[in-house]
């Protein structure tokens, strides 16, 4: 070989290895790294510029990109995935009365159809109430009922049981126990029960009252 003996002492690693090295350096580095610095950190004879070309191609379309910052290189998450870098802070809000009642009916009567919920509550159930409970994953769709129209039913979820500290829906106290616990004493006068149902949300409209026969 006609090479300088000093230079051949260090054989440059294969390009695949060089690519790995650039990848690791850019990943771990707190700042963008210039080609010169990459070369300085990599073994003698390595060609960071070429490795960068390969690496950039490899990350095309991935969740992470190779970007050039001035004359240095860095890895960044893909801009379209920025929304993933958000963490939600949670504001706790009490469930509306309509939602609680609907949830209670599902819990006590599951599987129950929407029409049945409306029959029990005596007012129509707004789409929003059901959606909220579905979204909270406290209720889910159950089996369709084998009645005309095959309406969907709702049942409570494991998440519901977890939230309320119940092992099963059967653990819910019965009417007798509710009464024993004094929960039934606050009885609204007959006929006024439906009035105070409104939560000022306009969710439930009495005009659509279920027709009880």
């Amino acid at each position: 070989m006609a090479e300088d003996p000093e230079q051949s002492l260090f054989e440059a690693p294969p390009m695949g290895e060089q690519e790995r090295m650039v990848e690791a350096i850019l990943f771990a580095s707190a700042e963008p790294v210039s080609v010169a610095e990459l070369n300085a950190r990599m073994p003698h004879g390595a060609d960071a510029a070429e490795a960068l070309v390969h690496l950039r191609k490899r990350y095309e379309g991935r969740g992470v990109h190779l970007v050039k910052v001035g004359d240095a290189w860095a890895m960044r998450t893909a801009p379209d995935l920025g929304f993933l870098m958000q963490k939600e802070t949670v504001e706790v809000r009490k469930l509306s009365r309509a939602a609680i009642e609907t949830l209670a009916i599902v819990a006590y009567h599951q599987p129950v159809t929407r029409a049945e919920i409306e029959e029990i509550r005596g007012v129509s159930v707004s789409r929003g109430t059901i959606d909220l409970l579905l979204e909270l994953e406290w209720i889910r769709f159950g089996r369709r009922k084998m009645t005309p129209g095959r309406p969907v039913t709702f049942v409570v979820t494991q998440g519901f049981l977890d939230h309320f500290g119940l092992e099963s829906a059967r653990d819910l106290p019965g009417l007798k126990e509710l009464r024993a616990a004094g929960l039934l004493e606050n009885r609204p006068p007959p006929g006024t029960g439906l009035q105070d149902d409104e939560d000022g949300e306009g969710e439930d409209s009495q005009s659509e009252m279920f027709d009880e026969d």
Partner: protein
């Protein structure tokens, strides 16, 4: 432990003193008496389970004796161990006392060997653990972790009490509403059968099935349908049991029943 306190006997030769010191000067380097015993046991160059505990005890006692001569202040731990090993030594040398119910010298020796083996094993795995690739030395995390921005999200909550109160509120709107829904409009076959069994004794003559419907069930169409179906099913059951006879003149004409005559 006052008798174990460092005494004031003279050390004869400076050389002997220095030699002993070479072994002992490092007493701060030992992590307690068990560690010292482990170090001493290495001189036996055998499996820790086969170590001569007696020999080890003697080595240790010699060590402590020398330390005393050198006026090296030994921690109480070392002196407690020395006392215990002296006791163990006597147990191992003397024939067992039948009166004594305590553990035998062999049991005590075996436990000491176990402790030494366990300590050495922990030393060994500790070294292997530290020899692993470590974060920040051999492998690295992301250099510029991206901050996760905060977004407000509403979380809804309700307690079991809310739920029960909500349910109680609905149920008390109409206190007479039975707990199981729709059951007030349904007559089960069992209910009809019970009723029929009571009534059939009086039905010697052909009578319309409709007359057997429970009171108050004829007016409401839904209730009437349910009661008729249940009563009809119940009468079929009774006919099957040979208790009644059923007759219908033609399609859609009234169905009549009577008690089956006893003579057949």
């Amino acid at each position: 432990m006052s008798e174990e306190q460092v005494d004031t006997s003279n050390v004869t030769s400076v050389e002997a003193r220095l030699a002993a010191e070479a072994l002992i000067v490092d007493v701060d380097g030992f992590e307690g008496p068990l560690d010292l015993l482990l170090t001493l046991s290495r001189t036996q160059k055998v499996d820790l389970r086969r170590i001569s505990v007696l020999q080890l005890a003697e080595q240790y006692l010699v060590f402590v004796e020398k330390a005393k001569q050198l006026r090296i202040e030994l921690a109480a731990d070392y002196l407690v161990m020395a006392a215990w090993l002296a006791f163990l030594k006597s147990r191992l040398l003397l024939p067992p006392d039948p009166e004594d119910e305590g553990p035998s010298g062999e049991e005590l020796a075996a436990h000491l060997a176990f402790q030494l083996e366990r300590l050495e094993a922990m030393r060994d795995v500790a070294a292997r653990l530290m020899g692993r690739d470590q974060k920040g030395r051999d492998f690295f995390a992301r250099g510029v972790p991206e901050d996760v921005t905060r977004v407000r999200k509403v979380k809804y909550t309700a307690t079991l009490l809310d739920l029960m109160q909500g349910y109680a509120r609905i149920r008390t709107r109409d206190d007479f509403r039975p707990y199981v829904m729709d059951r007030d409009h349904v007559l089960t076959m069992e209910q009809a059968l019970d009723r029929m069994r009571g009534l059939i004794g009086y039905a010697g003559d052909w009578a319309d099935l409709v007359t057997f419907l429970p009171e108050g069930w004829e007016a409401d169409p839904q209730r009437r349908r349910s009661a008729t179906a249940a009563t009809f099913a119940a009468s079929l059951e009774l006919a099957k049991e040979g208790k009644i006879e059923i007759r219908q003149g033609e399609t859609f004409s009234p169905i009549t029943i009577r008690r089956k005559p006893t003579d057949g």
